[in-house]
Symmetry: C5
C-alpha cells in the first residue's frame, strides 16, 4: 500500500467563526443610561435573531479572564455568510465599544480514516490508478455517501450547554516526531484509540471539530460544550496521555465562556 | 500493569481566578479628590466583603514590577460564581481606571498518584475490566473518600501571608523527553521525591496547586504564600534540581505581590 | 557535481506588497454621513484606478476574523512604485481611520530547479569554471531565456476570484533537518513531487509564489486565489503530507479575504 | 557523593527592581513650561533623595533605543521597600507622562559553589544525614559566615559609572543539554572557569548578579557597570565561548543606558 | 593549539543606532497646513545637518510595509553622541507625531579570524603565556595595526544608495549545532567561504556589519546598501546555502527602506 496517497479523506460542513471581544467599559459607562439601553436593545435584537438561526445560528458567551469579555460563535453555510455576519455586527452601535482581541476561522470537519483505508484498498484492488478520473470518481462517491450519512454532524446547531471551551491545535511536525510522516495505518490506529476516550465522555460533553488548514494559524479548532466545566479538564487530561495527543498534539490558547442568551445581554452590560 | 489507564486520579475543589490589572494613573489623577474618595469607598466596600468570604473569598495584592499594579485572587465554589465576581467588579467606578493585563483560570487540584496505583491494582486484582461500570464505581468510591478526607485542602481560604508568588507551568512534552509517555510508576516516584522538598518548606510556605488543562494556556497554576519572599526563591531553586522539575517543568510568567487589605486600598491609590 | 553551486536559479517579476488594516469603526461612525460619503468617494476613486492597473494593479479584500478588516494587495514593477502606492494611500482621508496590523513585501519568483541542473551540468561539461565570466554569461543566458518564456507568470495581473488565502513560509533549517543542506538533486526531486500536487488543483486554484528573503521576515509568500475557499484547505492539507512540506515547511499567519471591488467599498463601510 | 544535595548554597542581599519607562513626549510637550518645570523639580527632588540612599539607593539611566526612555534602578533592603518606592514614584506628577515598558525583580545573589562542596563533604565526612537538624545547622553556620564576609558585595551601593548594561538570563534545561542535570563537580568547574574571564575584566567593569527564580521570568539578572560600553561587548563575547555560556546560557533583552543624575533630569526632559 | 583562546579578535568603529518610527498620520492631518510646514522645516533642517555629518552622519529611509514609516540611521563616534542624537530628535515638534516601533544599537565590527590565528600562533610560538602582560601587549599591537589599516571601514560614512536592507542575526547555540563550540580553525574556514560570496557581490552591494553583543537582543546587525533591491534577495539567498549560514545563522526582522533625503521630507509628509 506504499503507493497509495497518505492523505485521509475528510468531509466538511458549516463554516465557523469565533470572535473574541473586549468591552471598553469606561467608554461604555460614559454613555447615558438611555443611550446604553438603546444600544443594548439594538444589539440583543440582532443577536436574538442570530441565535435562532439553527444551523446558521450564532451564540454569545461571557468569557472568564482577560482574553476578552465576550465570545461570539457563528455557524454558517459558507464564508460569504460569515463575512455578512461580520458586517451586520459592525453596524451595531454597541460595536463601537468592542475591541477584537482574537478570532478563529474554520470549517466543521469529519476525518474518515476508516473509510479512506477501505476506499483506497478497494480501488487499488480493482487496479485503479490513483488520481485517474476513475479513482477520483470512486473517492467522490465515498465522500458523497459520507456527507449524506453524516449531515447532522456536518451541519450542527450550536449546542445549548452553559459552558464552552474552545482551543486551536496542531499535529506536531518536529524534527524527530512528525505526524505527517507516520503511515496511514499508524495514524488510523492512533485516531481510533483517541476517539475511544471521547466516546466515554459522550454523555457529558459535546465535541465539534473544525479544520482550519489554509484558513487560520492552527490546523484544527476544537469546541467542547458541557453542563459542568470540570468535564473539560477531565477529558483533555485523559486524552493527554493517549499516544496521538502525548506525542503529536500542540495547543494554542484556551477560551472558556459561560453561555449568555442574547436576552440577557442587557444584564451582562448593566453597570448599576 | 501495562494495560491499566495511565491517567492519575485527581480530585478538584475551589474554582480560582487570578486577575492582573494596570491602573491608568494619569486618568485617575485627573479626577477630583472627592470623586476618587467616593470610588475608593465603593471599591474597598465590595472588596472588603469579598475578603471576608472565607472559602468563597478574594484577596488583593500590590504587584512588584510592570506586569500590573494590582492582582485580585478569587476562590469560589464554581465558574458561575467567578463570572459573577467579574460582573460585580466591572460595575465599580474604579474599574474604569483598571486595564486587565493578564489572568488565570483554574481549579484547586490534588493529584492522587499513590491512591491511583493502589486502586488500579486492587481493581485489576479482582479482575475488574477498566472502564466497566464496576471499575467506574470503584474509582468513584476512591475519589469520594479522598474528597471527604481532603476537603480542607480542596476548599481552602486564601492564606493571609504578606507575600504571594503565582506562576503557571506545564509538564514537558518534548520530542525526546515527554512526561506523558513516562510510566505511572516513574511519574509517581518523581512526584513523591518532588513532594519531599515541598515538605521541608512546610512551615515557611503555603502552596496551593490548581489544574488548568482545558481552562487556560498552561496545565497548572501554582500559588505560594509566605511571610518572607526569599523562601520562594529557595524553594523553587531547590526544586529545579529534582528530576521532575529539571527535566519536565516549563514555566510561564512569575507574578509577585504584597498583600493589600481592602481597607488599605485608599492608601494604595492615594496620590498626595 | 559536488563542486557545483548549491543555489537554484530563480527569476523574479512583480514587486508585491500586502497591507492589512484594521478600521477604527468607532471613530468612523463619529463622522457625519456626508463626511463619510466624501471619504468613501475619494478612496474608492483611487482604489478603482489602482484596480484597473493590470500588471501594476491593486485589489481590496475584506478579511475574515480579527487580523484586520481590509487587505490591500499591490502588484507593481518595482519597490519604488510600491513606496509610491503607500504614499498615495496615506493621502486619503479614509487612511486616518485605518491602522496597519500587518504587511508583507516580496517579489514574484519562479524557482528553476530543472533548468539549474541542466545549465550547471552543461557548463561543467564544457569545463567552464563556476563564477568565471563565461559561467556567469551562461547563467545569464538561461535566466534571460526563462524570463522571456515565463513573462506572463512573472508579471501577472491579480486574479479576479472572490477568495484569497495569503500566508508566508520558510524552509526549515533545524539542527537535524535542514533544507539548505540537502543536495540539489534531492531538493529538485522534492520540489517536483510538490509541484505535482499543485498541478492537480490547477483548474480550481491560482497560485502565485513570491520570494521575500532579504525583504521580509519569512522566505516566501504564497497567494492562493479560488472561487471556493474549501480548495485552500484541501490543497494545503494534501501538500502537508508530501516530503518537502511535511519535513521542511514552516508557516506564518494565514489571512483569508473576500474580494471587495473598489466600487463596493461604500457598501463595506456603510454603518446604517 | 552521589547522595549529597545537588543544590549549590547561595547567599542573598539587596532586593533589586529595574523599571523601564517610555515618556509620552507629545503629552509632555502639551504642558506649559512652568508646569513642566514644577514637575521636573518635584521629580528630581525625590530622585536626588533616592540617589543618596547608598545601599538603599536608586539611579536613573537614559536608555538607548526604543525599549524605553528612562530606566530606574532601585536597591533596597527588602521587597516591602521596593513596593514603597513604586508608590512614591506614582505620586509624582511626572509619573503621568511615563509608561512602564518593562521591569525586573531580583535579589543580589552570590553562588557558593566552592563552600558548598566543602561544607557538604565535611558534614558527610562526619556522618551527618542531609537535612537533619545537625546538617541544617552546619549549613546555616557556613551561610552566616559567608554573609558576614561578603556583606559589602551583598549590600552594594549602585556603582557610579556612566554606562549600565542590564539583561536577564537562564541556564538551559534542554532535552539534550540540561544544566540542572550536571553534577555539582561539573557545574562548579564550569563556574570557576567562567569566573576567571570576569576577573580579567575586573578593573574595567563592575558586575552585580541577582537571582530571580520565583521573582521574575528569568533565573538571573546581570548588571554591568563601566566607563566604556565597548567593555560590555568584549566581556560578553569572550564569555560566550566558555562552556557554561556557550552551552547553557539563554539570554533575554539587553538594556543599555547612560547614567543621568537626578540633577540633570531637567536637561533630559527639556524640549526647547 | 588547544589551549589558545577560542575568541576571535575584533576591532570596533562607529556606534550605530537604527530607529524605526510609525507616523501618527491622523494626528498629523489634524494640524493646520502652516503648522505642518513649520514642523517639516524644523525637522528637515536638523536632519539635513545630520545628513551632512559624514562619519558622524545620519540618514532617513521610507520603510516599506507596516513595521514603521520612517527609519533613521545614525553613525556616531560613541554612545554618548547617539544619546545626544536621541535628545535632539525628541525636541523636534514633528517627534510628537512619531511612535518608536523598533530600534537597534550596535558598533561597526570587523572580525579578524586570519590575524587572530596568526597572532595567537606567533605568540604561542614565542612561548608567551595567554593573558600575560606580554601576550596582551602582542594582541594590542595587532589590534592597533589593524585599526589603522581598516580605519575607512571602521568609520564609514553612510552609503548613498537608494535602498537599504537591515536585519539583526545570531550564530546558533543549539543543543546539537553550536557555533561557539566549533574550533577556531573551523570557524575561520567557514567565515572565509562566507566572505567569498560577499566578494562576488562587491560591485552591487555595500555591506556594513556591526556587533551588538551586550548592546541589543541579537549578536550582530547587518546593513546592506544597493541600487537595486533584488540584490538583497540574491545575496542572502546564495549565502543561505553556505555552511555558516545554513547551519548557524538565525535571523530577526528584516527592514527595507528607500532613501529619503532630508530635503524631501516635506514631500514624504505631504497630505494633499
Amino acid at each position: 500500500m506504499a503507493d497509495l496517497p497518505p492523505v485521509p479523506l475528510t468531509i466538511e460542513g458549516s463554516s465557523l467563526l469565533h470572535q473574541m471581544f473586549r468591552l471598553r467599559w469606561s467608554d461604555w459607562r460614559r454613555l447615558s443610561a438611555p443611550d446604553r439601553d438603546e444600544m443594548v436593545a439594538e444589539a440583543s435584537g440582532l443577536l436574538r435573531q442570530m441565535e435562532q438561526g439553527g444551523r446558521e445560528g450564532s451564540a454569545v458567551y461571557s468569557l472568564l479572564g482577560h482574553k476578552g469579555d465576550l465570545m461570539l460563535v457563528h455557524f454558517r453555510s459558507d464564508f460569504q455568510k460569515l463575512e455578512q455576519a461580520q458586517r451586520c455586527l459592525r453596524k451595531l452601535r454597541l460595536f463601537d465599544y468592542l475591541e477584537a482581541t482574537s478570532s478563529y476561522l474554520s470549517m466543521v470537519e469529519l476525518g474518515l480514516y476508516e473509510s479512506t483505508q477501505k476506499t483506497y484498498s478497494s480501488l487499488a484492488g480493482q487496479g485503479v490508478e490513483p488520481f485517474s478520473p476513475e479513482w477520483n470518481q470512486g473517492i467522490e462517491d465515498t465522500l458523497q455517501r459520507q456527507r449524506e450519512a453524516m449531515a447532522p454532524r456536518l451541519w450542527p446547531g450550536i449546542p445549548g450547554n452553559p459552558y464552552l471551551c474552545f482551543y486551536p491545535m496542531d499535529r506536531r511536525r518536529g524534527e524527530g516526531k512528525n505526524w505527517y510522516l507516520e503511515s496511514m495505518t499508524e495514524r488510523s490506529r492512533m485516531m481510533t484509540e483517541h476517539g475511544m476516550i471521547g466516546r466515554r465522555y459522550a454523555g457529558e460533553v459535546r465535541q465539534i471539530i473544525s479544520g482550519s488548514i489554509g484558513f487560520d494559524n492552527w490546523e484544527w479548532g476544537v469546541d467542547l460544550f458541557a453542563d459542568d466545566p470540570l468535564v473539560f479538564k477531565k477529558l483533555i487530561y485523559e486524552m493527554r496521555f493517549d499516544e496521538v495527543s502525548a506525542v503529536y498534539a500542540l495547543f494554542g490558547e484556551f477560551f472558556v465562556g459561560v453561555r449568555t442568551p442574547a436576552a440577557d445581554l442587557g444584564s451582562f452590560l448593566r453597570l448599576e
